[in-house]
């Protein structure tokens, strides 16, 4: 299956292209010609709400993903304040500690081919966790990012039962010293936010940044609805698979080389 591509020539698209042109021109002044490091096509001002004109996604090339490399995991922990390096959840047993992103190593049962990939919330278009949540705390933003509204999460864990990827964690004890942009606390459920605080201010998720810094370039982040975005181009040219495609959840995270 291919990514959703928005071919409609809406006024916004035109606007976006004009804007892109101008920004690119501005960026071109600062950088060597043709070297635009990050996509800036979606720039929206702080008072504008996220829009369904975007759909944020990740594309992971498992062939480029470094075996034994955990840069994305560490970056996520540093950014969002979970895991051992933050001494978060000292009382919880290993199986009770939060895991937002994890590295998994796989071996094909037939061919013996070994590969390695990061696994996190897949930011589904039809997220089972959102369907089952009794209060509406588990929610999907207009731009496709799936989040937990911890203000109204009652800690029933039904979303964790429903998630096909085991992407969610329940917080088993009181926490301290959370990151200001990543509030998290006892008795509620949490998962990968696609670094929504960065996305809202035109940034790139910490995991993608770390993967690039490591030189692997195995992760793309971008707008699946923008047919010119790097992620869309890459998907169009080389494809990308969903995990549990049979469930027809239309995930926002895609994998190559599975």
């Amino acid at each position: 299956m291919t990514q959703p591509v928005n071919n409609k020539e809406t006024t916004t698209d035109i606007y976006r292209r004009q804007f892109l042109g101008k920004t690119a021109a501005a960026a071109g002044l600062a950088l060597a010609p043709g070297m635009i490091l990050t996509e800036v096509a979606h720039a929206r001002s702080a008072d504008q709400p996220a829009s369904d004109k975007n759909r944020w996604g990740l594309l992971i090339n498992t062939n480029k993903c470094g075996t034994g490399c955990t840069a994305c995991v560490s970056a996520c922990q540093t950014e969002n304040g979970w895991g051992e390096i933050n001494k978060s959840e000292p009382h919880s047993k290993a199986s009770q500690k939060a895991v937002w992103i994890r590295k998994v190593k796989l071996k094909d049962k037939l061919t013996g081919h070994v590969q390695s990939l990061p696994l996190m919330c897949q930011h589904c278009e039809h997220p089972p966790c959102v369907d089952v949540c009794p209060t509406g705390a588990s929610m999907k933003r207009k731009d496709g990012i799936v989040l937990v509204d911890k203000h109204i999460c009652i800690g029933c864990r039904y979303c964790m039962m429903a998630c096909p990827y085991k992407a969610r964690s329940f917080i088993h004890e009181a926490l301290e010293n959370q990151k200001v942009h990543a509030p998290r606390g006892k008795g509620t459920v949490e998962s990968c936010t696609m670094c929504v605080h960065r996305v809202d201010t035109d940034g790139t998720p910490a995991c993608v940044e770390a993967c690039n810094a490591e030189g692997h370039q195995a992760m793309y982040f971008g707008d699946l609805k923008d047919s010119n975005s790097a992620i869309s181009v890459e998907l169009r040219n080389n494809g990308g698979q969903q995990l549990r495609q049979d469930l027809a959840l239309n995930t926002g995270v895609r994998y190559q080389g599975l």
Binding site: S92, K93, Q96, K107, L110, L119, I154, R157, F170
Partner: protein, 405 residues
């Protein structure tokens, strides 16, 4: 003309009665203590984890909620299906339904990560959530059954009993279907993704509810020294036998369907053969203790003559039922989800592809038992303050034409 049997509140002044209340109260206090302990520290003091997210409290809660709707059956048979012989049993049946549901819900609420936010659960509804439907179904069940009880207990409202009883019967079917669907709609997990879950839960409710009803009836008539004749008792016993057999039938269909589908083979092998504790719970707990042995007791005339043995059989049905619910809830989670079909997970930091372990702690078990205690306490207390129990269920009072076979 046949005289009607009067309903009488039990005297409830014996030391035995107070002892019963005291024991139940102790369990309730222990469960509240467990709740405080779990909420104060957080769920790290339980055996539940990010792999097994629902544990012992949910086993007890689901069992009680399922049994609550099932125990109303006795009343439904009298009101919705107009069987006269069940009339005297209807009040206790409706009371027990409310009590069991209250006990089950108490556990669910006290196990929440944020129980103080119950008001949010009541005010924010995601109408696509089966959990949210269930909250409406539970509250509606309380309301309808209480109205139904009212029509039975207030003399001049008797003409509405049939309507209220039928409404309650339909509502309870919806309720158990909803409870079963909590699991049946979870497409991601191999053990759950099956529409048969909903009807299976309905038939489980018939069985668990009636087993509890028979035990409550036996206890209250023994301890108050009121007569309980064979006419009623054997009817209930035979009916329970039918329900127990029906549960076994549904379980067989569920597993046979799974065995036919290649993608569910691994899960079936896990439950039926290789699952260790879950395999034992299935064959020994659910099938043998909760199914085969009770059926032998109920349908072997020599054994069924003994009230004690039949009561023991009903107790086995309850234990087998708990084993079944444990297998469904915990076993269904312990079995790893297939995220990468055709691949083997050789390294992970989150137990992908591995069978999750779960060891319940004392606290969560006490919380679960507290739900039972709350239900039984409510029943014991209410039969003293109001007229729920017929003065006599002797054969001559219930059915003058009954002949012992």
């Amino acid at each position: 003309m046949k005289k009607t049997i009067p309903f009488l509140a039990i005297e409830g002044r014996s030391s035995g009665y107070y002892m019963l209340l005291a024991i139940l109260a102790t369990f309730i206090l222990a469960s509240l203590g467990a709740f405080y302990y779990m909420e104060h520290h957080g769920h790290y003091v339980t055996g539940m984890s990010n792999q097994i997210v629902w544990g012992m409290p949910h086993v007890f809660a689901v069992f009680l909620i399922v049994a609550a709707s099932g125990i109303l059956n006795v009343a439904s048979i009298s009101s919705a299906f107009n069987k006269k012989a069940y009339k005297p049993l209807a009040r206790l049946s409706a009371l027990a339904a409310v009590a069991l549901l209250a006990g089950g819900l108490m556990i669910l609420v006290l196990d929440l990560g944020r129980p103080e936010r119950l008001v949010i659960a009541m005010t924010y509804y995601n109408l696509k959530s089966i959990f949210a439907w269930n909250m409406l179904l539970y509250n509606g069940f309380f309301a309808i059954v209480i109205v139904y009880l009212w029509t039975m207990m207030q003399r001049n409202l008797g003409k509405y009993t049939r309507v209220a009883g039928t409404a309650a019967f339909l509502w309870r079917l919806a309720l158990t279907t909803g409870t079963g669907s909590i699991f049946g709609f979870l497409v991601a997990r191999q053990g759950y993704d099956a529409a048969i879950m909903a009807p299976m839960f309905v038939i489980m409710s018939f069985s668990f509810g009636l087993a509890i009803y028979i035990l409550v009836l036996m206890a209250s008539y023994n301890w108050t020294e009121r007569p309980l004749g064979d006419a009623i008792f054997n009817r209930l016993k035979n009916l329970l036998g039918v329900f127990v057999a029906a549960v076994l039938y549904f379980v067989a269909v569920y597993h046979l369907t799974n065995l036919y589908e290649a993608q569910h083979h691994d899960f079936e092998m896990f439950i039926l053969r290789d699952g260790g504790i879950y395999t034992q719970l299935f064959w020994l707990g659910q099938v043998l203790i909760g199914g085969v042995i009770p059926l032998i007791i109920f349908y072997t005339p020599a054994l069924a003559k003994s009230r004690g043995l039949v009561g023991f059989g009903a107790l086995l049905v309850i234990l087998g039922g708990l084993a079944q619910v444990y297998g469904i809830i915990i076993g269904g989670q312990a079995f790893p989800m297939t995220i990468f079909p055709g691949k083997e997970v050789i390294e992970t930091t989150f137990a992908d592809g591995a069978i999750a372990s779960y060891v319940p702690t004392l606290a969560e078990t006490l919380l679960g038992l507290g739900g039972f205690a709350v239900a039984l306490f409510l029943i014991a207390f209410c039969v003293k303050i109001m007229q729920f129990l017929p003065a006599s269920l002797a054969d001559k009072d219930v059915d003058p034409h009954y002949k012992a076979s």
